[in-house]
């Protein structure tokens, strides 16, 4: 297993969140939206050239700006 960020996760792939880097404020915000360690997410798309990443968490669709997406680490098989 390998730890990568949401930016590196391939489109249409599912993965489990293992770590959220960054400050408590961001963690709280994610927590409120239902994204936290242990949650399974599906990456829907990534708008190229440092654009946002779109993921599905539970029944919600979230769009994360590029540098925020870099802070959400998920585990994928090598």
């Amino acid at each position: 297993m390998k730890k990568v960020s949401l930016v590196q996760l391939k489109e249409n792939h599912k993965a489990e969140v293992v770590e959220i880097l960054g400050g408590g404020n961001l963690q709280d915000k994610f927590m409120g939206m239902g994204l936290f360690k242990g949650k399974e997410v599906t990456k829907l798309s990534h708008i190229g050239l440092k654009g946002p990443v779109v993921i599905k968490v539970g029944r919600s669709i979230l769009a994360l700006g590029h540098s925020i997406a870099l802070k959400v680490m998920v585990e994928v098989e090598e």
Partner: protein
């Protein structure tokens, strides 16, 4: 009971429930952050009138932004036993919404849970056991569909049963675990194939298909606005003005022997012995024609298309696609929403920059909107006047404004300290817009336009005519004519029109109509009107939102830039 608070996650339909409860019409749309101001209204509960407060959406009771703090401080204004909280929940996404519900219960608020958008949930194959949820939460749970009004009566009937439920206090991890078990007991998902709506939802957030869709949607939106606007003008307003109103006025003028001050004020100048709505400049002739015959049709057309896109839920998807570009000018994708609202009228556009996080972003967005985003009344006049010379010129004005906005954004992003924050945004599902809600929203916006515009236009034309009659503009003209003529290549009469731009931009273009300007002169003057000083309403809202210092900064920028652009256009681009 002193107050009822409506609280819930962003974009669960709080404002629609609020309108249903109080009869107070507020704008609601299918994207998070529509409500930037706190809505207040009253509900008759038995014999008692109770104030209802519509709070902006929040995800959690742990404040993470300034807007959250405002909502929370309002919620704690009164002792808990004197209020009721209606927790509005999106039935299609119960899991995410329950975190806030549990927090409200743990803190001892008397709560009624309102499972909103229950019809949409059924469409999406989500079935909720309301009775079971009520048992698990130990507070009343009512399912509603606020858009159609289903369940609202039941909700009102049970507000009195709002009660605190004693719960053990958990941390967020614990709450999410508990929510998992609640969901298992109350929610059943029907497995079904992707329908067209879901395919489109998906396609619009992917790079290639998304951009193709965006280009198609923006192009057709623009075409539709023009088509609807033109159709109203040729089929409704022009016939009414020419075949009905003009004969009445002409009969009136026929009895008018002495063509003195009052004639000048009310009718204006006769062109070849006849009233010309575009050139006479009277309070009864040109003033109503500008507002009702030229601007109103486009206001209706624009707000119809904008409201449609809002209610479908397309705008946040546009935000994703444009995030990249907007980052270069110091904003992020969500800034597209204030910009689009600004195309209707700069005032609501600037107000909605509150959805942006930092002061820096708000300054950049507000300044760019007041410089580079022409409002519908101004655009309608540009179409009406410059369109006569060919679409090329109209496109040219947009081209100049667009490039200017982009360049200015790049520069501001460079020179202003700080950086542009990233967005974290929930993308709503597409919803089929309710025709009733759409019609209400359109009516509300058009009414707002008429109330704000008509008195100003009438008073404005009245004041202009008095000043012109007594030749009081001559001093102003004498001072500014050298600049207007020397730098911009415009005749000295245009000074008055540009000055009127501070009052209203559509009237200002109206003042240009009788001057017989060339295409080049019209191009320069309308572009200048867009960039130059904001109109007085925008000016006030800029002051309120940015403070005096930033207002001055923003205004200075506008003046310098319009001088520059006017001169460049006059001497270098158009010859």
């Amino acid at each position: 009971m002193k107050k009822i608070y409506l609280i819930g996650n962003p974009n669960v339909g709080k404002s629609v429930v609020f309108s249903r409860l109080t009869g107070v019409q507020v704008i609601s749309s299918n994207y998070p952050g529509t409500t930037v101001e706190i809505g207040r209204g009253e509900l008759l509960l038995g014999q008692e009138k109770v104030e209802v407060v519509d709070l902006p959406g929040i995800y959690s009771l742990e404040a993470s932004s300034q807007a959250d703090e405002v909502a929370l401080s309002l919620l704690n204004e009164h002792p808990k036993n004197e209020i009721a909280v209606i927790n509005i929940v999106d039935s299609t996404n119960l899991e995410r919404n329950l975190l806030l519900t549990l927090q409200l219960l743990e803190q001892g608020f008397p709560v009624v849970v309102c499972l909103n958008m229950c019809d949409d949930a059924v469409h999406r194959g989500v079935h909720l056991d309301t009775a079971k949820l009520e048992e698990l939460l130990n507070v009343p749970v009512i399912s509603t569909c606020a858009v159609t009004g289903t369940g609202i009566k039941l909700l009102i009937g049970r507000i009195n049963q709002a009660r605190p439920a004693v719960r053990e206090k958990l941390d967020n991890q614990g709450r999410w675990a508990l929510i998992g078990t609640i969901i298992e007991q109350v929610q059943k998902l029907e497995h079904r194939h992707h329908n067209l709506r879901e395919v489109l939802e998906d396609a619009s957030v992917r790079p290639v298909t998304g951009l193709v869709m965006a280009a198609g949607i923006i192009y057709s939106a623009f075409k539709f606005v023009r088509f609807i606007g033109e159709s109203i003008i040729t089929n409704i307003t022009d016939p009414v003005f020419c075949n009905f109103y003009q004969p009445i006025l002409e009969k009136m003028t026929g009895y008018w022997q002495e063509k003195g001050f009052w004639f000048h004020l009310l009718i204006g100048d006769l062109i070849n012995g006849k009233i010309d709505f575009k050139q006479s400049l009277g309070v009864l002739t040109t003033a109503p024609y500008i507002e009702f015959g030229m601007v109103l049709p486009y206001v209706v057309a624009f707000y119809f298309i904008l409201s449609l896109l809002e209610d479908i839920g397309y705008l946040p998807r546009l935000a994703i696609l444009l995030d990249n570009i907007l980052h270069r000018i110091g904003l992020h994708g969500y800034a597209i929403i204030p910009v689009l609202l600004g195309f209707g009228c700069n005032v609501p556009g600037i107000l909605s920059t509150r959805v942006l996080e930092s002061r820096r972003e708000r300054f950049i967005a507000s300044t760019l909107i007041s410089i580079g985003v022409p409002c519908v009344p101004l655009q309608a006049m540009i179409f009406g006047l410059l369109g006569g010379f060919g679409g090329f010129y109209v496109a040219g004005v947009y081209g100049v404004l667009f490039s200017l906005t982009f360049i200015l954004g790049l520069v501001l992003n460079r020179i202003m300290p700080g950086y542009s924050p990233e967005f974290l945004l929930e993308i709503p599902p597409y919803r089929f817009p309710s025709l009733e809600m759409l019609a209400q929203k359109l009516y509300f916006r058009v009414k707002g336009f008429l109330i704000e515009a008509v008195p100003v236009v009438l008073a404005g034309i009245c004041a202009i005519n008095i000043l012109l009659y007594f030749k009081l503009f001559d001093a102003l003209t004498a001072v500014f004519a050298p600049i207007i003529n020397g730098v911009f290549g415009l005749p000295k009469e245009a000074v008055v029109a540009l000055a009127i731009g501070f009052l209203r931009k559509d009237v200002a273009v109206g003042m240009l109509m009788p001057l017989g300007l060339s295409a080049k002169q019209l191009f320069i003057s309308t572009t200048l009107l867009a960039i130059f000083f904001p109109c007085v309403a925008t000016f006030i809202v800029l002051w309120k939102e940015l403070g005096f210092k930033d207002l001055v900064r923003s205004t200075l920028l506008m003046i310098v830039i319009s001088l520059l652009v006017g001169a460049v256009l006059n001497f270098m681009v158009l010859r």
